[in-house]
C-alpha cells in the first residue's frame, strides 16, 4: 500500500468516505435514483395522507417527474427553478396541499433512503434539499 492510499483510508475512516465527492456521487448517482424511484413512488401511492393528489395521473409521466425530483433532492444535475415548482404544484395547492402533505413526502423520501441503507448524515442532507423547495411547492 502506498503512503498516499493509506492517507486516504485514514481520512475516510476519520471523516467519512470520500470527502470531496458530491452528495449525488456519495449516494450513488443515477443508479441510486433508479433504485429509489420505485420504492419512493410506491410509498407515496400507498400513503393515504397524500395519495389522493396522485389519483388519475399518468403513471409513466409521473415516474419521470419523480425521477427528476429525486435527482434534484440527491444533489444531482437538474434544471428546476422555484417558478417550475410553483407552476407544477399550483393545481394541488388549490386542492388543499399544505405543510402536512409536504412533511409526508419528505418522510417517505427518508424512509426510501433508509430502506436502501443510506447513512443518516446523507439522508439529512437530502431532506435539507427537499426542505428548501417547501415555500415554492406550497406557493408562499
Amino acid at each position: 500500500m502506498t503512503e498516499k492510499q493509506s492517507l486516504a483510508d485514514w481520512y475516510d475512516q476519520k471523516y467519512g468516505k470520500m470527502p470531496n465527492a458530491s452528495l449525488f456521487e456519495q449516494l450513488g448517482g443515477t443508479a441510486a435514483v433508479d433504485a429509489a424511484v420505485d420504492i419512493f413512488y410506491r410509498k407515496v401511492l400507498n400513503d393515504d395522507r397524500i395519495n389522493r393528489f396522485f389519483e388519475g395521473v399518468d403513471m409513466e409521466k409521473q415516474a419521470a417527474k419523480q425521477k427528476a425530483f429525486l435527482t434534484m433532492a440527491f444533489g444531482g444535475p437538474h434544471n428546476y427553478t422555484g417558478q417550475d415548482m410553483r407552476k407544477g404544484h399550483a393545481h394541488l395547492v388549490k386542492q388543499g396541499l399544505n405543510d402536512s402533505h409536504f412533511d409526508a413526502v419528505v418522510e417517505n423520501l427518508g424512509g426510501t433512503l433508509k430502506e436502501l441503507g443510506v447513512a443518516d448524515n446523507l439522508i439529512a442532507q437530502v431532506a435539507a434539499i427537499a426542505e428548501s423547495t417547501r415555500d415554492d411547492v406550497l406557493d408562499r
Partner: protein, 323 residues
C-alpha cells in the same frame, strides 16, 4: 412568431401549440391517434427547417436524419415546412395473405411483406388506409415461428380503417405498413422470471405473440395469461391457448368473463381483478398489459403497488381514435 407551412399554405403556430394541433385545426388531414409520441401515426417530414430533437424521440436514425418528426410532439422555435411522409422512406408494401374471423368482431390479418421487416412479437405496425387514416395494430406473430406478420383487427363501430379491413380488404390486395415500433415485447435473459400477461379483447394479439416468443425461447419461469371479455364469444384462440397450456407445464391460461352468466371452465369477474387476486405479490415479476386503455391504466398502478418494478411493467394501450 413561428410559421408552419404545409403545401402552399402557411399558418402561425399558437402559443404552446404543437404542429399537429396547428395543422389539424386548420383542416389539414394529418393522421393521428395517441397524441403523445407513442403511435407514430402523425409522423411528418420537415422539407425546410430543422425539427426539434424532442419531436424525433423513438424514430429510426435514418428517419431522424431525413428530418422526420412526430407532429404531436413538435413545438418548433424556428419556421418549418412540413410534408406528409414519403412512402419510399417510411413504408413497406405487403400482400394480404390470409383473412380469417377469430370471433364475431376480430379478424386475423396475415401480411406477406415484400421487403423483409425486422420486428419482435408484441411491437406494433401502422397500417395505412390512405394518407389521412393510419392505424396502429399490435403484432401477434413471432418472427421465428411464423412466416408472415399477423394482426388481430377488431371491428370498431364506424371505424374507418377497421371497417375497410373487415369489409373491403381481400386476399392478394397490396397494403402499406410502417414500423414496427413499440417496446412491449419479450426480453430474453431472465428465463426464470415469472411473467403475468393481462389483456382484454384484441389486446390478446401482442400477448399471444409475447407468450409464444417466450415459450419458443425456452422461458422456464411461470407464464400466466389472463384474457378477459364480457361474454364467451368475445374471447378467441381459446383452443390454441389450451393446447399450449397442456404442452408447456409452466404456462397457464385463465379466460375471464365479466358477465353474470359464466359457463364452466371460465373465471368469473374482471380480468385484472382475477389476475391480482390470484397473484397478490408481484415482486420480481414481468408484467404485460394490453387492451382497454382504462384497464391498462388502472392495472399498471395496481401491479406496481403489488410489487412489480416500474421498468418491468410493459403496456400497449392504444387510444381508440374517433376520426
Amino acid at each position: 412568431m413561428t410559421t408552419i407551412s404545409y403545401g402552399k399554405q402557411s399558418f402561425e403556430l399558437g402559443e404552446g401549440q404543437s404542429v399537429l394541433e396547428c395543422l389539424t385545426k386548420q383542416g389539414v388531414p394529418v393522421p393521428y391517434s395517441c397524441r403523445s409520441g407513442v403511435c407514430q401515426t402523425c409522423m411528418m417530414q420537415a422539407t425546410a427547417g430543422i425539427p426539434p430533437a424532442s419531436s424525433q424521440i423513438g424514430l429510426k436514425e435514418s428517419l431522424r436524419l431525413r428530418n422526420y418528426f412526430l407532429a404531436c410532439l413538435c413545438h418548433p422555435t424556428e419556421d418549418l415546412e412540413a410534408a406528409m411522409p414519403d412512402d419510399m422512406h417510411v413504408s413497406v408494401r405487403a400482400i394480404v395473405h390470409k383473412l380469417e374471423l377469430l370471433n364475431d368482431e376480430i379478424m386475423l390479418v396475415e401480411l406477406e411483406c415484400l421487403t423483409p421487416v425486422d420486428y419482435r412479437a408484441g411491437q406494433f405496425i401502422n397500417l395505412v388506409h390512405d394518407s389521412a387514416h393510419v392505424r396502429s395494430y399490435s403484432i401477434a406473430s413471432v418472427p421465428n415461428l411464423d412466416k408472415h406478420i399477423q394482426l388481430h383487427v377488431r371491428r370498431l363501430p364506424q371505424g374507418r380503417v377497421s371497417g375497410w379491413i373487415h369489409e373491403d380488404l381481400a386476399l392478394g390486395h397490396t397494403v402499406e405498413i410502417r414500423g414496427p415500433t413499440g417496446d412491449c415485447f419479450y426480453i430474453p435473459g431472465k428465463p426464470d422470471q415469472p411473467m403475468l400477461l393481462i389483456g382484454t379483447g384484441s389486446g390478446l394479439a401482442p400477448l399471444y405473440g409475447i407468450l409464444r416468443d417466450a415459450l419458443d425461447q425456452a422461458h422456464a419461469g411461470p407464464i400466466r395469461l389472463y384474457h378477459g371479455s364480457r361474454e364467451q364469444h368475445g374471447l378467441y384462440l381459446i383452443d390454441e391457448l389450451r393446447e399450449l397450456e397442456s404442452r408447456y407445464p409452466n404456462f397457464s391460461y385463465f379466460p375471464c368473463l365479466s358477465d353474470v352468466h359464466v359457463p364452466a371452465g371460465f373465471i368469473a369477474g374482471r380480468v385484472n381483478e382475477a389476475a391480482l387476486r390470484d397473484n397478490p405479490n408481484l415482486k420480481g415479476w414481468q408484467v404485460f398489459l394490453c387492451g382497454h386503455p382504462e384497464m391498462v391504466k388502472a392495472t399498471r398502478k395496481k401491479t406496481f403497488l403489488a410489487g412489480a418494478s416500474m421498468q418491468d411493467i410493459h403496456a400497449d394501450a392504444f387510444n381508440v381514435s374517433h376520426l
